[in-house]
Amino acid sequence: MQTIDLLFAGFASAFQIGAFLTVVVGLLVGVIAGALPGISFVNAMAMALPFTYAMNVTHAMLFLGGIYVGGVFGGSISAIMINVPGTPASLPATWDGYAMTKKGQVKRALTIAVTASAVGGLASALMLTFLSAPFAKFAMKFSQPEFFAATVLGLVSVIAIAKDKPIITMISLLSGMAIGTVGVDPLYGQARFSFGIPEVESGIRFVVVMIGLFAIGEVVDLVATDRDLRPKKADGKMAGASFRDIWNVKGAIARGTGLGCMIGVIPGAGATPGAVIAYGVEKQINPRGKEFGTGVEAGLAAPEAAKNATTGAAMVPLLTLGIPGSAATAIMLAAMMLQGVNPGPLLFIMDPSMVYTIFAAMIIANVLMIGAGVGVAQMFSTLMRTPPAILAGFIVILSLIGAYGVRNNIFDVHVCLIFGVIGWAMKRVGFPSAPLVLGVILGPLAERYFLTAVANSRQDYTVFFTRPISATILFLALIFVLWSLWPSVRSRIKRQPA
C-alpha cells in the first residue's frame, strides 16, 4: 500500500510541468539520437550528462531516463527504414522490420515496433516499481558463471536466426568473436593482434564494425539497385498498424517482454542479448517462425518488446544495489554520484520520493511513447520520400561521424570503411553479417565472464555445470541449439535420397 501511495506522489512530482517537459525532451532526444546510425542513445546520454549538472537530481534522472527509453526504441527506426541498426539492440529489427519496409509497409512496421517497444518498456517499468526487491535478490544470485551462460545463450541464439546455414552462421559468429579479441585483453592487460599499431591496441569497437557492415553496404546497395523504399499505397498497408494488427502479435509481445525483463535484470546482459534471444525464441515458438526474415510482424514485435523491457529491468540493480548493469545505467550512476546521491538500498529509505518519481517517469515515458508512436512513424516515413541519393549521402556522413565519435579517432573511420567494403562483399555473396556483429559484441563479454569464473573457482571448469542457474541456462542453450537445428537436419536427412 505504501508503494502505491509513494507511486502516486511520484506521479504528482513527475507531472509537474518542469519534470514532465524534461521527460518529453529526453524522450525526443533519445528517439532522434537512437535513429541516427552510429549516434547511439548511450552517446546521447553521455552528451547530456553535463546538462544534468544544472538540474536537480530528480530532473537529471528523468532526463536521462527519457533518453534511455526513447533511445532504445529509436535505434529501430533506422533499422526498419534503411536496414541500418541505430543501436546494436536493434539488429533484430533489420530482419523482419526492413523486410516489411521493402514490401512498402514502413509505417506499419514502425507502428508495430513502437507499440511493442512501449508495451515492453511499460511492463518493465511496472516491474521496476513493484518487484525491485525480489528481482534485486534474484540478480545477486548471478555471478560470472551465470553471466557466461547467459552470454552463451545469446551467442547460440544466432543459430536460430540462420535459416539453412548453421555452419556459415557459426563461422560468421566466430569471425566476429575473433575480431572481438583484438586489443588489450580484459584480465591480463596484454595487447593481442595489435601488430605493433598503437590504435589497434585499443581494440576494434563493435559500434564501428556494425556501422561499417550495415550502413556502408546498405547505402551502396540503395543506389546500385534503384531500390524504392517509399511507402506503397497500392497494397493497402500504407497506414500504420491497426489495433487488430497489434492484437495479432500480442503473444510475441508478451513473450518478448517476459524475456526482456528477465534478461535485463542480469547485470552485464542488457538489451542486445535480450532482443536476439527473444527473436530466436519467437522464431521457434511462432507458427510463422519459418517465414521469419520475410517481414513477419511477430518477428519484429518480439525483439522490440524485449529490448525495451530491458530498460526498466536494468535499473533494478542500479537503484536497489547501486550496480550499473549496462553502459546507459553506468551514466545514470555517474549523474547520481555527481549530484551527491548514492544509489543503493539506502536510497529507498533516504529519498523514496525521488525513487518513486523516477519510477513514475519511466512509466510516463513509456506511455508517451505509445502516444507518440503514430507521430514518429509518420515523421520518419516522410523521410523515406527523400530521393535515395540524398538519403544515402547523409547516411554515409552520419555513419562515419558515428564511427569517429566512438573515440574521436580517425582510425575508427578507417576501420569502419574497411568493414564497409567487407560488409558489402559479404552481402553480395550471401554471407550473413549479423552473427559477426553479435560475435564482436558478445565475444568479449563471454571471454571476461569465462576467465573470471574460472579464476574464481580456482581453475575448476565444471563450475558452469555445478551451479544450478548456470547449468540450467546452459542446458536451455543446448536445447535451443538442437531445437533450432532440427528442421535443417531433418530436411537434409530427407534430401539424401534425392
Partner: protein, 309 residues
Amino acid sequence: MTYRRKHGGTDRLGRDGQRAGLSAASDRDGRDLWSRRRRGPDGPADGPVDGKAAWRLDPDLERGGRIRECRPDPAQTDAPDGYTIGTLISLTVASWASGLGDSNIDDFEVLAVVQNSPSFLFVPASSPYQTAEDLFAYAKENPGELTVATSGYGTQDDVTLKLLAKDGVQMENVPFQSPGERYASPIGGHTAVLYEEPGDVAQFLKAEQLKPLVVFSEERHPAFPDVPTSTELGYEISGLDNFRTVAVRAGTDPAIVEKLQSAVEESVASEEWQKFCAETYSCIEPVTGEDAQKMVQDFLQLITDQLAS
C-alpha cells in the same frame, strides 16, 4: 572561469569542464580540448577526473571498466599540442611495472596529481571474518581458499596480494574488469573479499553492506579511524595507493603545460571538487610540476622493486 579564445567566442566547454572537475578544458584557438581514455570510468571516484569528455567519448562503457591498460593512447599518440589530455592513474603505472605495454612515464608530462587514496580490504557485512586478524589467520591456514575480487592481474591489487602471499597470507586473485560486477561479487557472496579504495564503494559502506578490515598504509585513514593499518598488523605494505593524475603527452609546450596546470589547480580548489573528493575519501593537496612527475616515477619504482623482491 572563462577562457578567451584566440578567435573569440565564449567558453562553453570551460563551464562544462569546470562542472566536471576540469575547468582546464579551454582551447587556445577554438578547438575543443578533450580528456580521453580508452575505457570507461571505473568506480564513482573516477567520474569527475575523467570529466564529461571521458564519458562522452567512450560510449563503450559496457565493455569498459578500469583503465588498466598500458597505453592511454590519445594522450600518447595525439600531437603534443595540449589539445589532448588524459588521465593517468596508478593502476596503469602499476601495469607498466608488471611488464605490460611499452609505455613509460617519460611518454607523459603529469600536469597534476589530483586524487589519492589508499586501498582497503573489504568483506561483506555477513562475512565470517569480522577482523583482519581473523581473515589473515584463516588465509594462512587455508592457502588459496579465500578469493579476492580485484581489478586485474599486474595491478597494484595483484602486487598487494603477492606481497601478502609472501608473508604467508595466500588468497586467490579474481580479476573483474567491470567495477559493478567487482563490487557486487562479495556482496552477493561470490567472492570472500574485495580489494578497493573506499571512494569507489562509498554507497556500500554507508549502507553497511561492506565492512573495511584493513588499510594498506602506515597511518590510519582519518575517515576510518577504527580500521587497523597493514603496518600495525605486521605487513609492510604501503605506498600502493590509488592516485589519479591529469597528464599530457611529453614534449608539450611548457607555456601550455603551465596554463593547463593552473586551470587544474583552480578546479581542484573549487567547492564542488572539495565536496566530491571528501565524499570519495580521496582529497589531497594537488601535486604539480616536477613533484607530480616524481611522485609517479617513485610509484613506478616502488612497484618495480616490490615485484623484483
